[in-house]
Subunit: 347 residues, 3 copies
Amino acid sequence: MPTITAAQLAELVGGTLYGDGERLLRSAAPLEHASSDSVTFLANVRYAALLSETAAGVVLVSSGVRRSQGDVIETADPYAAFVKTLVFFHPEVEHGAGIHESAVIASDVQIGANVLIGPCCVVQKGVKIGDNSLLEAGVFIGEQCVIGNNCRIHPQATIRHHVQIGNRVTIHSGTVIGADGFGFAFESGRYQKIPQIGTVIIDDDVEIGANTTVDRATMGETRIGEGTKIDNLVQIAHNVRIGRHCVIAAQAGISGSTVLGDYCRVGGQAGFVGHLKIGDGAAFGAQSGISHDVRPGEVLSGSPGRPHSVWKRIEAALPRLPELLRRVRRLEERVGIGSGEKEKERA
Amino acid sequence: MPTITAAQLAELVGGTLYGDGERLLRSAAPLEHASSDSVTFLANVRYAALLSETAAGVVLVSSGVRRSQGDVIETADPYAAFVKTLVFFHPEVEHGAGIHESAVIASDVQIGANVLIGPCCVVQKGVKIGDNSLLEAGVFIGEQCVIGNNCRIHPQATIRHHVQIGNRVTIHSGTVIGADGFGFAFESGRYQKIPQIGTVIIDDDVEIGANTTVDRATMGETRIGEGTKIDNLVQIAHNVRIGRHCVIAAQAGISGSTVLGDYCRVGGQAGFVGHLKIGDGAAFGAQSGISHDVRPGEVLSGSPGRPHSVWKRIEAALPRLPELLRRVRRLEERVGIGSGEKEKERA
Amino acid sequence: MPTITAAQLAELVGGTLYGDGERLLRSAAPLEHASSDSVTFLANVRYAALLSETAAGVVLVSSGVRRSQGDVIETADPYAAFVKTLVFFHPEVEHGAGIHESAVIASDVQIGANVLIGPCCVVQKGVKIGDNSLLEAGVFIGEQCVIGNNCRIHPQATIRHHVQIGNRVTIHSGTVIGADGFGFAFESGRYQKIPQIGTVIIDDDVEIGANTTVDRATMGETRIGEGTKIDNLVQIAHNVRIGRHCVIAAQAGISGSTVLGDYCRVGGQAGFVGHLKIGDGAAFGAQSGISHDVRPGEVLSGSPGRPHSVWKRIEAALPRLPELLRRVRRLEERVGIGSGEKEKERA
């Protein structure tokens, strides 16, 4: 693992060191597990009590925070500084190159430089794989797929035919890209399959978690924009288009032909009906249910989704609803109105 | 790809051609991507503006719709006609036959005519596979399974032991049929596994999407009825019975022993508790939560699920709840009733 | 299959036999499918009518229940007794031992006694596998994993590198243990990956269903406590800690760093935000949404989650909300208050 001095680390993270610049640091660790040659951080005042107990060589802290004894690096954003530290100590592992003898590769596959294809992978005809890409064990790549440079396809991922994947894309285990969209026409009492003849395009720097599904388009393409990050067990239906630099948390689902702009944030288990248009920078709470178009920058919560502030007020008022029924009945008695119940029965 | 004249297409879809019957057509495409030898359709008036721009050779339209220039086929249901057109241009691809040398097939497996078993498939002892069926790469078929004719099992699907699958069944990648049901008995502070000794039966013409799970029964069978279509990431628990010609959208979940009738429609992320009886033709909104038996033809929305019209009225009224609290307080002041708040405190 | 006499069965389940102690029993079956040499049970009075029709040799019943003709074993908990009967007739199948020739096993892997590794499995370097464990077909075990004794890893499960699994752990097909947590830092308009350098520890006697995901920790560990049972399609995010003997139903999701105590019960499709602390014995309804810490033993329902009794009252009152709006308007008219609507417009 790489090493760094405290002075070098301060420079790397753009912070100010209060302590021994020569101290040699060998790892990054959480406050409670850090030792004298490791770096940790304090971003949340809730954990300030741990500051006097940690054995860490250096703690990344925000402005003015000091330890009773021990060194700190002061920085505007200790967590961001810690992420830089983690990246320094854990650079992407270089994989080897070569094709495992158990992999089944069609004869016309084009494979770039420094590509590793692991055991039991299957790569069908017409596929192109760019430089430095990694297919771990048991990966399936269907006919005519294009995989860019520096991609990492983790064990047991499935990429169906004709899918196009850009550069520096990571796809985790069990994920299925390019299965048929869910399209059926109801005729004479039966559902007839609508051919799903489109494909999926995944742009550069996308990461997709484990056991997620991204369906191919009926016609044209399902598309995941550059830099977007998708978590585990997410459903992306046919002809959905996700913009650039979105984040979509686990178990969210986006129905057919819905279009998300750039920089959208989708909470876990949120759901979108089909054919919606979602503006740039919109954000959606966990378990929200979205059934209308959304303007750029809107923040929605609840199911059905409402502006977050409206939803908060409704949620706060809801527990008082049973009491409100009693109060209205009392008011009606006082002013001599026949009870609402009776009124309802007459209706 | 097949070709067809405009006159032949009109006959195929049961429509009336206004234009050149000899025009040769080679593909189906969306309005914005169609060229002079392709067929497109206009089903939604929202897209009528595209009608004057499309380069399509022929547009399938509803009664009375015409292009400023260019041919149309008039038909009662342009989308259904387009689906027929898609099916014409994209018939099911014939797969070859044979068993890949890397597949691991038990010696007593019975394999029908014209079956293709791809690389890295594993087929265990006692399995029967019907004619014309396809097992793509990395498929697992457990002991004593029966797979019918003309089935398509996509890469990395898992069918556990003793499962029975009918004819013309499609199962997409990553889906697991016949894992143990989630059954445990709590005893002396620990959960003891209840043996799951039943199986799964999947009837003819069923299609099941990617990364879905259909658990085996505790005893007896979990059953998916003829013609039913199930989307991605759906959970079908042990002893569930789904009727014929149902559609179940992505991420829906149906708990143990619940029985759905025929022609039910289940929205995305909907959930059913166990042991329910759901009548034929019932429909369920996205994210609905169903915890009671449902009569045939009922349409439920929301969580907990309510008749759709009731739920719509509640949803419309909810944003006014905070205001209602204020109005009732004002009424109480006016008529001289001690505030509900105080009443509540005394309670 | 094993056989047992009625007298021996009564002793096994701790019940009292009314009938022929010598009767030989060969199977366990549901009421409607039982034959003269099989055992069934009646736990729910709803099915009492079946009691006079069943052909079962013996029915396990609760106190005082008798058949018009036929034998019974009386017991305090007929269902628990039936589970014991099922376990007796269906003991865990002994698997063979050996490594299939198509499996790819690194040269330094340590494999215990009586281990079976099936076709197309991949086991990477540094892995240790305990005695009597089973890896079915197509299982992936990443570098430096430790698998305990008597584990069952079902077809196509994926265990990524450095994961530690205890004894008697069952992992079903398609499940992914140890994929990267979903951690990204937003910087200069892009999401930068935070290295996920932690791991997953799964304690003894855990069972995890199909197509579930348990992510590795950012640092430290994601942990599943002893005896906990997790259903299909569940998401367990990085650094989550689940206590001992919890049950988590299908499609539930638990976000990063949330800690569940022992004996918690989580309903299907329930969701937890990150960084929560959930007390021992807490229970959560299906589709509940939990966003605050929870005390031991609390029972929450709804989204957002509320104490179950509060939620029930709200749910019961909700359908009356539209009517309440009308009643309040009538009250305002009666006492001569300007309508709430106008008040709102002025606001």
